[in-house]
Amino acid sequence: MADLKCTIAGIESINPFWLASAPPTDKKYNVVRAFEAGWGGVVWKTLGIDPPVINVSSRYGVHHDHKRRVMGINNIELITDRPLEVNLQEIREVREEWPDRVIIGSIMAPVEKHYWQDLARQVADAGVHGLELNLGCPHGMCERGMGSAIGQVPEMVEQVTRWVKEAVDIPVFTKLTPNITNILWSAEAAYKGGADAVSLINTVNSIISVDLDQMAPTPTVDGVGTHGGYCGSAVKPIALNMVAEIAKSPDTGNMHISGIGGITDWKDAVEFMTLGSNAVQVCTAAMVYGFRIVEDLIDGMSDWMDEKGYTSVAEFTGAAVPQVKDWNELNMNYDIKAVIDPDQCIECGRCHIACEDTSHQAILMKTREDGGKLFEVVDDECVGCNLCLHVCPVEGCISMKEVSAGKPALTWPEHPLNPMKQAAE
């Protein structure tokens, strides 16, 4: 069993798996159950200034795949709806009962220095390992000038981060919203404000579906609805890209990253870490399956590390970052062609129709002597787009073979057909 210990923003954790600030970390009862299950840490459900908020019902909408698995959840819940002191007392108790687990206090307040600093001090005094600044909720709280209303303005991100850093001497995580045009602007702002780490992503602004009987966005509240925050495996690709951008950028590069967004299994977690996350947070997967999924996160990652020969998570943290390039750095001479294994082919014709209708007419459908079908790739037409491989229902039946071995690498800026290049010459 590999060693899963990790350090993020100076905080040591028995494993990189934390629960994100959300209903799973709403109160002592849940958090204790999470620690019993094996989670390394939690970011407590966002705390605010009393009086506590009041929530509506209903609160969640879901995007299912065709097997009714949850691809994503959209929520219109606000921050904690329990009094601050109740939360702080429970935090103190859990800190004492679970000394080896991490508790981060998530906080949110209006953009005024004393609100942020008072709240930060009170929560820090409860004994948390660090603070996370919730600048992300894209619904509800932003209408009150908080959440993403702050996170979307880099100057405010910097300001709030700085206020909190001035007030406390524990690590500060600035949690970023993906509802922006360029994640680097807010990440750089957090960095300038003194953040020890950024957490991302918070939820993506969304309408999950329309109730066609009520003619209203879901989840509906008394016949109408509002936009909410989208999370779960469907947002993972968005989150991965944002994490990679921050990890790659020299202006934010040495800030730690707590990766969040759609992490459901150990492989998702590994991917976030290879793109530069020092630890990860999970919300939706726990809401859908319960805390027990941490078992798979732990032994899946550990087994993979053993197989690959990694002895600590630090060894692969950021390992994929150097391979994340701009398009202009890609080798245009690299060439692959689809290869269909007739022995595995079940003759569904999906590759043929996909390529024929929407790609490059490179897969011929022929009739075999025994009446069955034979699908044949026309190498001259195949551009190596991978579409057929992805639509094929039999994994491994279609593969891509490289046909460019020996050719020198050539990027677009160097390409003879690039008009910009000719202009420069």
Partner: protein, 478 residues
Amino acid sequence: MVGVVGIAFPKFRLVSTLGAYQDLAKDGLWETTMTTKRMGLSGKPETAAEMAARFDDLHPPYNEMMAMTESNRCLYCYDAPCTTACPTSIDIPAFIRKISTGNPNGAAKTILEENILGGTCARVCPTETLCEQACVCNELEGGPVPIGRLQRYAVDHFMEADKPHPFGRKPSSGKTVAVVGAGPAGLACAHRLAMLGHDAVVFEAKAKAGGLNEYGLAAYKMTNDFAQKEVDFLLEIGGITIQYEQRLGDNLLLADLSRDYDAVFIGIGLGDVNDLGLEGEDKDGIHSAIDFIEEIRQAPDKRDVAVGDNVIVIGGGNTAIDAAVQAKRLGAGEVTLVYRRGAEQMGATDFEQDLAKLNDVIVRYWSMPSGIKGNGKVESMVFEKAELDGGKLMGTGETYEVKADMVLKAVGQKLLPSGLDGIELNRGKLVLDEKFQTTMGGVFAGGDAVASGEDLTVQAVEDGKQAAHAIDQYLSGM
């Protein structure tokens, strides 16, 4: 004990990983999504409800969740082999996709467009040797998509929704076609003719329409009077009238029809049954399985149907199985199905054969009927063991006797040629040209009565449909 039998596991293109199931399948004991309960079939049920339960749906209809789950397994093949395997060429991937998107009425239209009796076919087609055998998912874990049951889900949904008839009619041609026989071929032909703008008058020998759908299929395959509901649905298109108790060669003459109508379609099926060719076949207690099934189908309370205590069913097709299983369910003490050849050669599908075994039917292979014993009434039958000798079936001389107070003959049906004078027959069936026309001008035919007839409801529907197009062409050339 509740045994479960099914066809959802591939039995034709088994891949090696499913080998374990192959063995179970041989024993008829494997479990799949299709559940056919092994009945505790002892004795005659006392109450009507108990008896009705024995004749309840063989495959209970899918609910929405099951339909969603199964439809989502479909790979939506391009140029799909299932569609090729369907005699009526239903666009199966298209209709299954529509189920999966929550558009079951659209799915039903896709089905009915090619097969107006899609509801019956969904219930009775031997899908394991047709569409489902061709399903590419046979190669994958989980086995073929249950196309038949999904088809039923869609068509039932549509018919129960009480929607307006899905098809319109072309402007009237002013022509009227006489259709003889209101079975699957005749009904499909009449409906397509109506769509094409012609009127049809259907002449049916019996008191109800539907043909074998109404009279000849096991009751547990056609529950809730589905055959009549389907006829009513089909007639909604308009332009079709049915005249009952009109029997060709009896009170109905081909010459009159030819004279009075613009064209004639003959879809009379096979009105006669083959004999065993044994002495004493007229003894009491010996019936045709077809008559037996008809009686069951028409009895509102199945307790009124007489069944023997020791029943022998002779034959190897689906009719034999339908008769044997229903005899058992009616309360027969012992039902023995005797077939000349082996299990492999049986016309009944593997599923049907397994069904018989699950219903405690004793199956004896390689046995030829050689004698009937009894004084006025059958008391037993003698069978001679048989084997293949150079491809030819030969008796071995060894015989055995089986006690019987009821014998059901299911050794095939044949065309009743009465009223067909002047039309050429080949090996007892109507000869057609490639345009579905008999040797008598303007007289078309299809279904079981024709030479290519395959003894399948779905083939009869296709014949009727194609013949309607041929008739349409013929009429436009007039």
